[in-house]
Structures are given as C-alpha cells and as structure tokens.
C-alpha cells in the first residue's frame, strides 16, 4: 500500500508564471474557456480568476498596495484541490463517483458522475465545478494517472521555482516545517503552514506555506464538513413534522367529535 502523497506549496517562492496551470491543462486535456474567446479580467494580471471544472490549477495574484501604489507587495499562490483527509465532497456524493485512492487522494470518476453538483456546494474551498464538455463535476486528480506510473504530477513537474512540492505527506511536512523555521529565522515571522496538521479536516493532502491570513489568499479560516448540520437539521425537521402532524390530526379529529 503506497503511503499518502500530496502537495506542499510554498507560496513565498511562487513567481506567478502559471506554468503549473498550463501543464495541468495540457496533461489533462482541459478545454479553453468559451472555446478560447476568453475575456481579460480587467482588474488583474490574473485572467483565470478561479478554480473550476476546466481550471484545476489556479495561480492567484494578490496585490497588497497602498492607495498611491508606492508601497506594497505581491502574494502569489498556486491553488488546487486540497485532497482533504476528511473530504466533504466525497461524503455527500450520491453516486459514489468521488473516491479515495490508494495514495490518499480524492478523485472524481468522470464516467460515474451524473452532474448533480452536490459536491460543488459541499467543498469548503470552492474547488469543484462542472466541466461543460463532459457535463460532470471535475477537479484536480493529483494526476492519478501519472502517479500510478510513478511520475510526478504535471504541475509540480513544470514549476520552475519548486513552489509546488510533490511527495509523501510525511516528508513534505518535515520539509515545510524546516522552511517555516528558516523564514522565521530570516525575520518573516508571519510564515505558517495552512492545513498541515490534522485539526483542519483531518489534514489537507495539499497544504500551504502562507505569510498572511488565509482570507487574504481566498482560503477559509475554519473549513468544516458539510455533514456537521445533518443531525440537528434532521431533528428540527422531525420536530416540525410532529408539531404539524399532531395539530393536523387534532384539527380533523376534534371537528369529527363535534359534528358526527
């Protein structure tokens, strides 16, 4: 049994070249937006804007500048499916299309998915969307086909700055922790790991080194499982049914007592 594999993305060395996006699109044969007639975003050099069914990698450009644009910084982050150890999408999928692989990654089987879209709303990171060509929900597979052949995922292979690191999760965590300590030693006290420990959905098999709050990167500060509401929601519904049912029966029965 292979050990859990994943990504560790060091955002401090990302240069926003988007080679990972291109490599992902090429390898997975993902179609262009609107058949190639895509519009420029108009307010950013980033024209991909978000992860969806045909963009399984997305390099975010975060501009932190003052009003005069004299002082500031760029933050770059190559976003992707987090391959959560406790995955909300996998939990709610009604067809069994979403599976956990032998590498502890989460994959949508496109030939099983029927496009119900329950997983889209369940994902705490907004990663999944419909691929308009296949009509099914799609996202990063962590290059399952390449991994099975002993290859590195296309994005990590293409990354020119080693911002995207691929390997066994155990090794990635050691490497990431060492990098955090190195950055702390150099004065970047804001560096920390997002999703590396088990507190966040049992651990993210794609975790990040960040230097600002998660919200700045468009990441949820406290992602949760969708099923957290199942018991309480069901209990309230059952209580509503009891109240409506009892009052309905009393209304009809009391009338019978009076009139018959």
């Amino acid at each position: 049994m292979p050990e859990p594999m994943g990504f560790y993305t060091d955002t401090t060395v990302c240069i926003g070249c988007k080679a990972c996006e291109v490599a992902c699109k090429e390898w997975n044969q993902l179609p262009a937006t609107n058949g190639g007639r895509s519009k420029l975003s108009g307010d950013s050099y980033d024209n991909t804007r978000r992860l969806d069914g045909i963009h399984w990698r997305h390099v975010k450009f975060i501009e932190q500048f003052d009003a005069e644009r004299r002082q500031g910084r760029w933050l770059m982050m190559s976003d992707v499916c987090k391959h959560c150890v406790r995955a909300g999408c996998l939990e709610v999928c009604p067809t069994g299309a979403i599976i956990r692989t032998e590498f502890d990654t989460v994959v949508i089987q496109s030939d099983v998915c029927n496009g119900c879209r329950d997983c889209i709303g369940a994902c705490p990171f907004g990663v999944i969307d419909i691929n308009p060509v296949s009509g099914t929900a799609q996202k990063c597979t962590l290059c399952y086909d390449r991994m099975r052949a002993g290859m590195t995922p296309a994005c990590a292979q293409a990354c020119p700055t080693a911002s995207i690191n691929f390997g066994p999760i155990r090794e990635l965590k050691q490497k990431a922790q060492a990098r955090v300590e190195q950055l702390h030693g150099r004065g970047e006290r804001g560096a920390y790991l997002y999703g590396a420990d088990e507190k966040m959905l049992g651990g993210l098999n794609s975790f990040y080194l960040l230097v600002d709050k998660p919200e700045v990167y468009g990441l949820p500060p406290d992602p949760k499982m969708p099923t957290r509401n199942l018991k309480r929601g069901s209990l309230w519904s059952a209580l509503g049914a009891v109240v409506v049912g009892v009052v309905g029966l009393i209304s009809l029965r009391s009338r019978r007592d009076v009139n018959v």
Binding site: A97, R117, G121, F125, G233, R255
Partner: protein, 295 residues
C-alpha cells in the same frame, strides 16, 4: 467572515426551485390526504382523494425536473445503483443519496394511493383496497404519509449539508420547508376543493389548520433569521425585501387576514388567500435558493 463565503455555488436554479415547490406540494398533499383518510369524516373522503390525485402526478413531475437538472441526465440511475456493480447506491449520511431513495419510496406509495383514489366514485372498484379503511389501504396511507413528511423536509436538510452561505449557516431549513409545504398544500386543496359545496365541512377544518400552520410558518421564519445571526445581513438586499414583502407579507400576513375575515372556505377571499399562500411558498424557495446562489 464565515468560512462558508469561500465556497462556490452549485448552480441550483429554477428547475431545483420548482422541484422544491412541487415536491413540497406532492408530499404535503399526500400527508394531508393521509390524515384526512385516517382521522377525518367519511364525507371528507373526496378531499383526501383530491390529495392523492395531486401527489402522484406531482412527484412524477419532480422526477422529470431532477433528471433534467443533471449535467448527465442519462445517468440519473447512478443515484440509486452503483454503475459498475448494479448494487444499491445508498449513503445514509448524504441527504441527496438518502433523498433519492426517499423520493422513490414516496413515489411507490403515491402510485398505490393514486390507484386507490382513481375510481372512488364507484365506491367499490379494483383498487379500492389501497385506501383506508381497508387494512392494506391504512398501512399504505400511513407509511406514505410519513414518506411525504420526509419528502417535504429533506430538501432543506440537503441545503444545510453543504458549505454554502445561508444554507449551511442554519439547521432550520428542513423545518421551514416542511411547514411551508403544509401551508401550500392546504392552500392547494382548499383552492381545488372550493367549488364543491359538499366539502365545506372538511374545508373549514383545513382552513383552521391552515391558520395554525401559517402562524407556525411565521415563527419558523423568524427563528431562521435569528439562527443566522450576523449572517442575516446578507438579506439586507433585494432578497430580504422579497422575503419580507413576498413571503411574509403576501404569503402569510395577508392570507391570515383574509382567512379570518372569510365567512366561508368557499368564499372568494378564502380562494384569494389560498392563491397568495401558494405564491408565498414559491417565493420562499426562490429567496432561499437564489440568495445563496448569488453569493
């Protein structure tokens, strides 16, 4: 900011809104018919019959809407059977999976009761044993009524078991949908039965029941807003205005006033109240679904 604001909408729009509304009517009309059949007067049986006659065609429409909404409609059966093994596909902790089976089970009961209700005028017909007071009919009706309660409420739980703003920030949507389905179904039965003078007794009982349900709906809606806490500010928008004016005003307050003033459930004001309740019930689902989809 709540973590739910970092998610993407599942593109559930008009087909799903229609499903929530018509599914609510299907389940609601069935459980009302079941209650009337089980504890109502024998003279109310045509009212119960009306409920059964609405429930089955409505649930067929629900199935069509759900299949049409899929990205791959031809794979709708993957909800029920594993495509590779043909074994049953059921996840009890996934409201959509459990709901698909619930819809199937409800459809079966609705079909049996529909058959039982078809030839009511002849008194004794081939399928009359499928309706109370026969033992089989009583079992079918009681179990179908429970399935009806499930059908009208699981959709709210399904929305709660996501990570979307509003939907997953409260656990009351199932109860809200259930109460709203009761009020809209009573309204539909009252509307369709309002031209039959001989049903006046049963309609009067339903009108009293409706008054209670509308008050309960108002309470659950207030509880819903309170449960959202500071996130309810999302509804400080056109959606909130629609909720307040369309759902609460037109769909609850005005019908309550009309029902109190109506001297008979056969009157024009009672019919107007029923129409407004149906409009309000539809708008409730529009607001709940689209206000989150828009974020």
């Amino acid at each position: 900011m709540s973590s739910t604001f970092f998610t993407e909408p599942p593109h559930w729009r008009w087909l799903i809104i229609l499903y929530f509304f018509i599914g609510g009517l299907a389940g609601g009309c069935y459980f009302l018919a079941s209650m009337i059949d089980l504890v109502g007067r024998p003279t109310d049986r045509p009212l119960a019959r009306l409920g059964y006659l609405i429930a089955f065609p409505a649930v067929v429409v629900c199935g069509i809407l759900l299949i049409a909404d899929l990205g791959r409609p031809e794979r709708f059966w993957h909800m029920l059977l594993q495509s590779a093994t043909w074994r049953p596909m059921l996840k009890t902790y996934s409201p959509m999976s459990f709901g698909a089976w619930g819809l199937l089970v409800f459809s079966a009961f609705a079909f049996l009761s529909f058959l039982g209700a078809l030839g009511e005028d002849e008194r004794r017909h081939r399928f009359s044993f499928l309706r109370p007071p026969s033992v089989i009919g009583t079992i079918v009706s009681a179990l179908g009524g429970l399935a009806g309660f499930f059908l009208v409420s699981y959709t709210g739980v399904l929305l709660a078991v996501t990570n979307r703003p509003i939907w997953s920030d409260t656990t009351l949507l199932g109860a809200v949908f259930l109460v709203s389905s009761a009020s809209t179904s009573i309204a539909l039965l009252m509307l369709l039965g309002s031209r039959r003078v001989f049903l006046v007794g049963g309609l009067r009982a339903l009108a009293r029941f409706d008054t209670f349900v509308l008050v309960l709906e108002l309470i659950t809606l207030v509880a819903l807003v309170v449960s959202l806490g500071s996130l309810a500010r999302v509804w400080l928008s056109a959606w909130g205005a629609l909720l307040l004016l369309g759902v609460v005003g037109i769909g609850i307050i005005v019908p309550l006033i009309l029902e109190v003033r109506a001297h008979s459930p056969l009157s024009a004001s009672a019919r107007a109240a029923a129409v407004l309740v149906l409009v309000g019930g539809f708008l409730l689902r529009v607001v709940i679904v689209l206000s989150s989809e828009a974020i």
